[in-house]
C-alpha cells in the first residue's frame, strides 16, 4: 500500500510554517483507467470545472501581488492596471529598502543551510553505516524533534538568547535556524545515504582510507543531488521565516527581508500597496526559482522517497 509518509514535511512543524521541505511530488500521475467511457467523459468535464473553481480561488490573491506591483494606483483589490508601470520597482530598489535586507536574508539562509548540510551529513554517516543500538533511540529523538513546534515558543528562545548574550547576533540566529532544521536534515540525509551501496567504500577501506575520507571522496559525491535538495529545503525555509529573525534580531541593519518588509509596510498607517507588492515579487522570486530547481534535481518523487524510506 501507499507508504507516503512525508517526513520531509515534518520540518514545517519544526521551523515554523514555511514552505518547509516541500515533498517534491508532481501530482500528475495518469488517472486510473475507468471502465465505462461515457461516464468518464462526463466525470472529466465536471472535474475540470471544479478544478477551474479551485484554481481561481488560489489565483486571485497571487494575481493581486503581480498586478499591484505594476499598478500606479494599486489598492487592496485586484484590478488590471490601465497603464502598467515599473515605478514601484524603481522606488523600492534602494540599498536600505531592498539590497541590504536581501543580502541579510542571503547571509542568514545561506549560513543556516550550509551549517545544517555539513553537520547533518557528518551525523548521517555513523547512523547509516554502523549498526549500533544507540542509532535507534537517536533516530527517535530526531523524528520527535523534527515535528515539535519549536518556533511556536519564541518567547523562551528569546529569554535564552538574552541569557546567553546572543540577542541581535546574526551568528546566533543562523545557528538557531540550523538547529531547528537539523532533525529533518539528518533524517533525510541518513535515508539518502542508505541508498549509497557500502561496497564502494569497502574498496576504499581496503586501500587504507579512513571513514571520513571515504565519506568525503565517495559517499558525498554520489549523493550530491540529495545534499542539494536538503540545502535548498533549509535555505527556502530560512528565507521565508519571519518569526525567528523578528524576535532575535533587533538592529534594522541586520534584519532580513522578511522582517524589513513587515517593519516598513506593516506598521505604517497608509500602506503603499504598490511598493509592498513590488518588494514581495523581488523577495519571493528566488524561492520560487529554487523550488523549480529542486523539482529538476529531485526528479519527481525522488526527494519524498528518499526522506521516507526507512
Amino acid at each position: 500500500m501507499a507508504d507516503t509518509r512525508p517526513t520531509a514535511g515534518a520540518s514545517a512543524g519544526a521551523a515554523g510554517r514555511t514552505p518547509a521541505a516541500p515533498p517534491v511530488v508532481v501530482p500528475d500521475a495518469p488517472p486510473a483507467p475507468r471502465l465505462t467511457s461515457p461516464q468518464r467523459r462526463g466525470t472529466s468535464v465536471a472535474a475540470n470545472l471544479a478544478l477551474a473553481v479551485v484554481g481561481v480561488a488560489f489565483l486571485v490573491p497571487l494575481a493581486w501581488i503581480l498586478l499591484a506591483s505594476v499598478d500606479p494606483d494599486a489598492t487592496v483589490s485586484v484590478s488590471v492596471p490601465t497603464r502598467p508601470t515599473l515605478e514601484h520597482f524603481s522606488t523600492v530598489l534602494t540599498y536600505d529598502l531592498t539590497f541590504l535586507p536581501l543580502w541579510n536574508s542571503l547571509v542568514v539562509s545561506g549560513g543556516a543551510a550550509l551549517v545544517t548540510v555539513v553537520v547533518a551529513t557528518l551525523a548521517a554517516y555513523p547512523l547509516s553505516r554502523y549498526r549500533m543500538r544507540f542509532n535507534r533511540s537517536f533516530m527517535y529523538v530526531i523524528l520527535f524533534g523534527s515535528c515539535l513546534p519549536i518556533t511556536a515558543i519564541m518567547v523562551p528562545v528569546y529569554a535564552l538568547f538574552v541569557a546567553l548574550g546572543m540577542l541581535d547576533s546574526l551568528l546566533g540566529t543562523v545557528l538557531f535556524l540550523a538547529a531547528t532544521s537539523l532533525p529533518m536534515a539528518v533524517w533525510m540525509l541518513k535515508n539518502f545515504m542508505d541508498g549509497v551501496p557500502v561496497s564502494l567504500e569497502e574498496a576504499a577501506w581496503v586501500d587504507g582510507a579512513s571513514a571520513m575520507s571515504a565519506l568525503r571522496r565517495i559517499v558525498v559525491p554520489l549523493m550530491r543531488p540529495g545534499i542539494a535538495v536538503v540545502f535548498i529545503f533549509v535555505f527556502t525555509q530560512a528565507w521565508g521565516n519571519f518569526f525567528v529573525p523578528f524576535v532575535l534580531l533587533l538592529d534594522p541593519a541586520k534584519q532580513p527581508a522578511a522582517v524589513s518588509i513587515f517593519t516598513f509596510f506593516g506598521t505604517q498607517g497608509a500602506i503603499a500597496y504598490g511598493q509592498l507588492a513590488a518588494f514581495s515579487v523581488l523577495y519571493a522570486t528566488p524561492v520560487l526559482a529554487l523550488y523549480l530547481l529542486v523539482q529538476r534535481l529531485a526528479g519527481g518523487s525522488f526527494a519524498l522517497a528518499g526522506s521516507v524510506k526507512g
Binding site: 501507499a2 510554517r17 488560489f58 527517535y140 515558543i153 529569554a159 538547529a179
Partner: protein, 314 residues
C-alpha cells in the same frame, strides 16, 4: 579521522563491544561525527525547552528590574493561566483554528484537489496544481500580506461579493467582524498544497485493479472511494493529519500580519497570545508558561506521530 580501516560496516559486534578499552575507543571514534549535531540540538532545541520549563516558574519581565533579577514564583504563572478567561479563550481559538483549517480544511480540500487532478484532463491540471503549490512555496509574510489585502474592507473578496450580491453584500469588514473565519480560510489557502501532494502521491500507489474489480461488482464511484480507496490510504491520512496539525499549531506570522491577534485578543491563538503577553505586556514569565502549554500539546501529537512511524525506524 579515526575509524579503523578494517571496520567493515555494518559491524555490530565491534560497535557494541563493551568492557575492553579498544571497543570503547572504536565506538567513540564512530560516534564523533555526531558531536556537532548533538551539540547544536542540545543548545538550541533542548536549551529553549529546559529554559521554558524553568522560566515559566519565574516572574521574568521584559524590562525593568524584574528583567535582570527575576524571582522564583513556583506555579503562580500556571494558576494565573488556569483562572484567566483570556487563556481559555485562546486555547479554544487554537483548537478551532487547528480543527477547521488543518484537520478539516486542508485535509479535505487537499484530498478533493488530488482526486480532481486525477479525474480531470488537459493543461488545466498542471496549471491548478502549480497555483496551489505556489501559495505554499511563497514566503509566509508575502502570503500573509496577499491574504490581508484579499480579506480587507476594500479588498477583492468584498469587491466580488458586491458584484455578485448587489447592494450591501460587500460591506463586511472580515478581519474585524470575523477574524477567525478569515485566518482559517487563509491557512487553508496557504497549506492545502501539502495535503494535496501527499494524497496525490498516495492515490497514485493505489492498485487500480481493486477499484476495477469493485466496479465490475457494481459498486458506485462513491462506494469505491469510501470502501476501497480511503481504507487503503489510512496510514497516509493518519500521518498527514498529524503533520498538518503540528504545522498549524505553530502558525504565527499569518495571524500576526492579518489581524495582530485582534480585535483585542479575539483571534489570538496560543503562539500569538504568548507573544503578546511577553512583548506587548512585558510578562516574559507568563508568556513562557503559555509557550510551555503549546509545547506540551505539540509534544503529545509528536509522540503519536513517532509511534505511527515506529516501523520506519526499526
Amino acid at each position: 579521522m579515526s575509524a579503523p580501516a578494517g571496520a567493515t560496516a555494518p559491524a555490530p559486534a565491534r560497535a557494541t563491544g563493551r568492557g575492553d578499552g579498544g571497543g570503547r575507543l572504536v565506538l567513540l571514534a564512530r560516534l564523533a561525527p555526531l558531536a556537532p549535531t548533538v551539540a547544536l540540538m542540545l543548545v538550541f532545541l533542548a536549551g529553549p525547552i529546559a529554559y521554558a520549563l524553568y522560566g515559566s516558574l519565574t516572574n521574568t519581565a521584559l524590562s525593568g528590574y524584574r528583567a535582570a533579577d527575576p524571582e522564583f514564583v513556583g506555579l503562580d504563572n500556571y494558576s494565573t493561566l488556569v483562572s484567566s478567561g483570556e487563556f481559555w479563550q485562546s486555547a479554544w481559538l487554537t483548537l478551532l483554528f487547528v480543527l477547521a483549517s488543518a484537520v478539516v480544511g486542508q485535509n479535505v480540500l487537499g484530498m478533493v484537489v488530488a482526486l480532481l487532478l486525477r479525474a480531470a484532463r488537459g493543461p488545466l491540471r498542471s496549471l491548478v496544481s502549480g497555483l496551489v503549490v505556489t501559495a505554499w512555496v511563497l514566503p509566509e509574510i508575502v502570503a500573509a500580506f496577499a491574504l490581508y489585502a484579499f480579506f480587507s474592507g476594500d479588498g477583492t473578496l468584498n469587491a466580488v461579493l458586491g458584484l455578485v450580491g448587489g447592494e450591501g453584500a460587500g460591506g463586511t469588514a472580515w478581519l474585524v467582524t470575523f477574524p477567525m473565519t478569515a485566518v482559517i480560510l487563509a491557512n487553508v489557502w496557504r497549506g492545502t498544497a501539502f495535503s494535496m501532494m501527499v494524497y496525490g502521491a498516495a492515490l497514485a500507489e493505489v492498485p487500480p485493479d481493486l477499484a476495477e474489480a469493485a466496479a465490475l461488482d457494481g459498486a458506485s464511484g462513491r462506494q469505491r472511494f469510501f470502501r476501497i480507496t480511503l481504507p487503503l490510504l489510512r496510514r497516509s491520512i493518519g500521518t498527514n493529519l498529524m503533520l498538518t496539525t503540528l504545522q498549524t499549531l505553530g502558525v504565527f506570522t499569518l495571524i500576526w500580519v492579518m489581524t495582530g491577534g485582534g480585535p483585542g485578543t479575539s483571534s489570538s491563538t496560543l503562539p500569538v497570545l504568548a507573544f503578546q503577553e511577553a512583548f506587548r505586556f512585558g510578562q516574559v514569565g507568563y508568556g513562557t508558561a503559555i509557550a510551555v502549554v503549546t509545547l506540551v500539546v505539540g509534544a503529545l501529537f509528536a509522540t503519536v506521530y513517532v509511534r505511527v512511524l515506529k516501523p520506519e525506524v526499526d
